[in-house]
Amino acid sequence: MGFDARRASSETVVIHVGEALDFRNADAFKSTFQEHVENGIRQFVLDFSDTEVLDSTGLGAIFSLYREISSDDGKVAFADVSEPVQVVVHLTRTYKVFRQFPSVEAAQEAFSG
């Protein structure tokens, strides 16, 4: 199952994470972002509005994305973070690395500013 990713600007891609990002579809998520990383994209907004499940493999896939682009000053923002995602982000202290925004629009605005 693929992920819905759209080019929001010349520099930013928004990925709709969907209901679950876990060990079942983490590889599909990786190939989704990989394509955009290869095209030079360094700013990603992850839309968590519908996300019920984020397990450690799923979170690991997001970390892989961050590791690939962080050396180029790349950024990954979390938008519209649902409760289950909030729990994981809090536990692993990753809010220190991924900025969170109330909406996709707010994240895009912060990127373009």
Partner: protein, 373 residues
């Protein structure tokens, strides 16, 4: 289970297309027109099973099968020959090694499909058994055989491994000053891969600890070293781990620890449970992260309970995860029981939707005895 890949080698296009069509409903199918082309295709993708004609131009089925026998990567691929009546003699001449079946043309499609299915089932079964054995072996190596015995203290741990679980690890080391380093971690990911990384990682942690303990007993300093290692080691690249390093000093009744994104331990005292706030970033994500040490006093009767996320993520009957609050309550309930870990796990299961734990699970329970009580 991932979809199986079947290679069809057949020069007659009608037979080839028919096989592609019928097998394509169940498997990922690709095809070649002769042995030579098949070898090229196999170099790109190794199939789970090969169905090959015998009489073909350029390179026939026998030559293809012999070529595959010479390479250990292709020797084990199940091989079915489709033979015309005319080939019968050739077939009789040499009973070939490594051929799993001969099916005579014109063949019954249903019979062929059922042969293919059975052969692939057999491979899956071997694979599953092998994975289970290796996974169990890794799981065992990620845990110590015994725990330190220290006067005035009770120290226990419990671990349950699931084949599809992750890379939980636990280890301890005694220092020269009668103190102990306890290492609890969880390498992200599932299955064999996570266990393998956890195993490699733990080996590194053990050797680093031995070297580093000569200079410092700061868990935070060691944590920074481990983080550098995960970021710079090529094999472990893309590996992330939550880690809890505790330096336990029974003489001063303290535990000094650093926490890299791991489940926060519960400190239980006769006054009630408490979850110390302190925690830093998970390992392997960012360079030059600061880790800090926090020291807890273990008063008489105090227990420090650490665990991995398998416990916290266990689903309760409401469908929610047990969560940090849930674990804290369970620790408080189990406190005072003779076998406190067992009591904790039993009451976790009573609240669970399932009658067993869904993921790998690790709990350590360190308790100072209450001499006054």
């Amino acid at each position: 289970m991932a979809e199986h890949t079947v290679l069809i080698v057949e020069d007659e296009s009608t037979v080839r297309e028919l096989l592609k069509y019928r097998l394509g409903k169940h498997y990922d199918v690709y095809a070649a027109e002769n042995g030579e082309e098949a070898l090229d295709r196999i170099e790109e993708t190794i199939p789970d099973l090969i169905i090959s004609d015998i009489m073909m131009p350029k390179m026939d089925g026998f030559a293809l099968q012999s070529a595959l026998q010479t390479d250990k990567n292709t020797r084990v691929i199940p091989f079915i020959f489709l033979t015309a009546r005319a080939d019968e003699e050739a077939r009789q001449q040499g009973q070939r090694k490594g051929v799993d079946d001969y099916i005579t043309k014109p063949f019954d499609m249903e019979a062929l499909l059922s042969r293919v299915e059975r052969l692939l089932e057999r491979i899956d079964m071997f694979q599953t058994q092998l994975n289970a054995e290796i996974g169990q072996d890794f799981s065992n190596r990620l845990l110590p055989d015994q725990v330190p015995t220290v006067e005035d203290y009770k120290f226990r741990f419990h671990s349950e491994a699931r084949q599809q679980g992750g890379g939980d690890l636990f280890d301890w080391t005694e220092t020269d000053n009668d103190t102990y380093f306890l290492t609890i971690g969880d390498v992200m990911g599932k299955g064999l891969r996570a266990k393998f990384y956890a195993f490699s990682f733990l080996s590194y942690v053990r050797s680093t600890l031995h070297t580093l303990l000569k200079e410092s007993t700061s868990p935070a300093a060691l944590m920074a070293r481990l983080n550098d290692m995960l970021l710079n080691d090529e094999v472990l690249e893309d590996t992330f781990a939550t880690f809890l390093l505790m330096h336990w000093s029974p003489n001063t009744h303290t535990v000094t620890y650093a926490n890299a994104g791991h489940c926060r331990p519960v400190l239980m005292t006769p006054d009630g449970p408490e979850v110390p706030e302190h925690s830093d970033l998970i390992l392997g994500l960012e360079e030059d992260v600061a880790f800090s040490d926090v020291t807890l006093d273990l008063d008489p009767g105090a227990a420090l309970v650490a665990y991995t996320d398998g416990l916290m993520e266990q689903r309760t009957q409401d469908g929610d995860m047990l969560g940090e609050d849930g674990v804290r309550d369970l620790v408080a309930e189990a406190y005072g029981s003779d076998d406190s870990i067992r009591a904790l796990l039993d009451s976790a299961l009573i609240r669970s939707a399932s009658d067993q734990f869904e993921d790998d699970l690790l709990v350590t329970w360190l308790q100072r005895e209450n001499r006054n009580g």
